[in-house]
């Protein structure tokens, strides 16, 4: 049935949204880590 | 209690006097409102039957935009002259300032509406099929709903980047139930289709809830700037 595509779409969309959010968190985390490291050596 | 009233009235009188003398803001806002009506009329050109259904929405959206333009300049004068700092250190209750601002904005926006409404009636050939007098409480309560929250959020937006866009960003979501009530009530009154009573009561409830909230929390916002 064609409507099964919508089921896939919904589940994929859900995890896509969560993955995007996790991605932004990881990126911010690594950037902050970098900034923290720079702190001791003369500031950014 | 009487000092609250006298400060409020004094602030309000000062604002009206200043506005009357310069007429800057008023003139540009009047013209803006006129432009909005004309553009809407070009864009949505319904026949008589349809127009009664959608005019409520069109009119209130136009009022909403005109109100935002008016609200954005609410605190501009105070900011320019460091009046807010003076207020913060004075023993005057913050609510007096807030109430004066809200009343001033209410008169200003009502003036704009009084100009725009007849124009809409002309362009859309509007005639109320229901009890037209009910449009008055709808207009009063609806305008108050927009203005009380708008003045409050204008104060909150003072120390933000892109201050002018911040006001509608904050105001529009919170105003959704009020706007829906205004639009539906107007539609019902114009098309004579049912009773607008529920929406008027909801508007009244909205006004009471948010006026209380604004009065209770304005001090916090004023100090927070």
């Amino acid at each position: 049935m064609n409507s099964i595509k919508f089921l896939y779409a919904a589940y994929i969309a859900t995890w896509l949204i969560h993955a995007l959010y996790l991605g932004t968190m990881v990126r911010r985390y690594s950037r902050l880590r970098q900034q923290k490291k720079n702190l001791g050596t003369g500031g950014k | 209690m009487s000092s609250l009233r006298s400060i409020t009235l004094a602030t309000l009188a000062k604002d009206i006097r200043l506005e009357w003398r310069s007429k800057d803001a008023i003139n540009s806002m009047l013209f803006f409102s006129l432009l909005v009506v004309v553009i809407f009329s070009f864009s949505f050109d319904p026949n008589a039957e349809e127009s009664r259904q959608i005019a409520g929405g069109l009119i209130w959206v136009a009022f909403l935009f005109a109100a935002v333009v008016a609200l954005n300049q609410t605190w501009a004068r105070e900011l320019r002259n460091q009046v807010l700092d003076a207020y913060r250190v004075s023993p005057a209750p913050a609510n007096a300032l807030f109430t004066a601002k809200v009343l001033g904005n209410f008169f200003l926006v009502s003036l704009l509406e009084a100009l725009m409404a007849p124009l809409f009636m002309i362009f859309y050939n509007l005639r109320a099929l229901g009890p037209a007098w009910q449009l008055i409480p709808v207009a009063l309560l609806g305008t108050w709903a927009l203005v009380v929250n708008g003045t409050f959020f204008a104060a909150m937006s003072l120390r933000t980047r892109s201050r002018e866009i911040m006001l509608p960003l904050l105001l529009f979501p919170i105003s959704i139930p009020a706007v829906q009530s205004m639009v539906e009530a107007t539609r019902i009154i114009l098309s004579g289709d049912g009773a607008a009573r529920f929406w008027i009561v909801l508007l009244l409830t909205y006004d009471v809830v948010f006026t209380t909230a604004c009065l209770a929390l304005f001090e916090t916002v004023l100090q927070a700037e």
Binding site: L7, Q35 | L170
Partner: protein, 245 residues
Amino acid sequence: MKRVFPILAVLTGLLLAYAFYEAIWVAPMERTMGDVQRIFYYHVPSAWTAFLLFFVNLIASVIYLIRKNAKADAVAVVSAEVGVVFCTVVLVTGPIWARPVWGIWWTWDLRLTTTLVLWLIYVSYLMLRRFSDSSQTPKLAAVLAIFGALDVPLVYFSIWFFRTQHPQPVIGGGGSIDPRMLHVLLINWLAFSCFAFLLSWARYRLEWLQREVEEAQALESLLGDGLAAPTRAPLDKTSSRTGPQ
């Protein structure tokens, strides 16, 4: 504490996988909608989780206004953000579900529309936090959260009455639910709640790290660089270290 997080993450992952299995294979097929109805097991738990998170935000905001507790403010930011993420999931899965079932993407469904308004309010909350430069931003945001909370019942009523005047389809069905479906629903809710908790915890740690770094940077530009403080980058490496090391 640091070891708990990975363990919890693995457990949550397993729980989510199990919940997924239950939703797709174990739950009985719905009579009228067919397999598409299984979206329900993702749509509803996300909604409940989002509402719970927004409620946490409200409590944290009130606590902040009363106690000025920085932790409460951090919890407020975190719960608002994660809440918006889950809310987005609800708003995306809702129309995806509605389209094959009702043929239209959007109806002014009571719960979905209330969710939309909540999403708008909280996105405006996040915008205020991002655009506000004042040191008092947490206080302003807390006030906005209270306004949002006051608005929600009004939103609910206005949409409810609107729908009695303009009858529209109800997404997600109403009425009683098959106990086997309820079982799968609750498992998914548990799984997503754990996931939300993990996301919030990670975001919370991120928030503290950010505040730490910002404070340290501010301190450094005050003590270390003196004249070069505005640019925060010393013009000449040799001239910057005049203060205490």
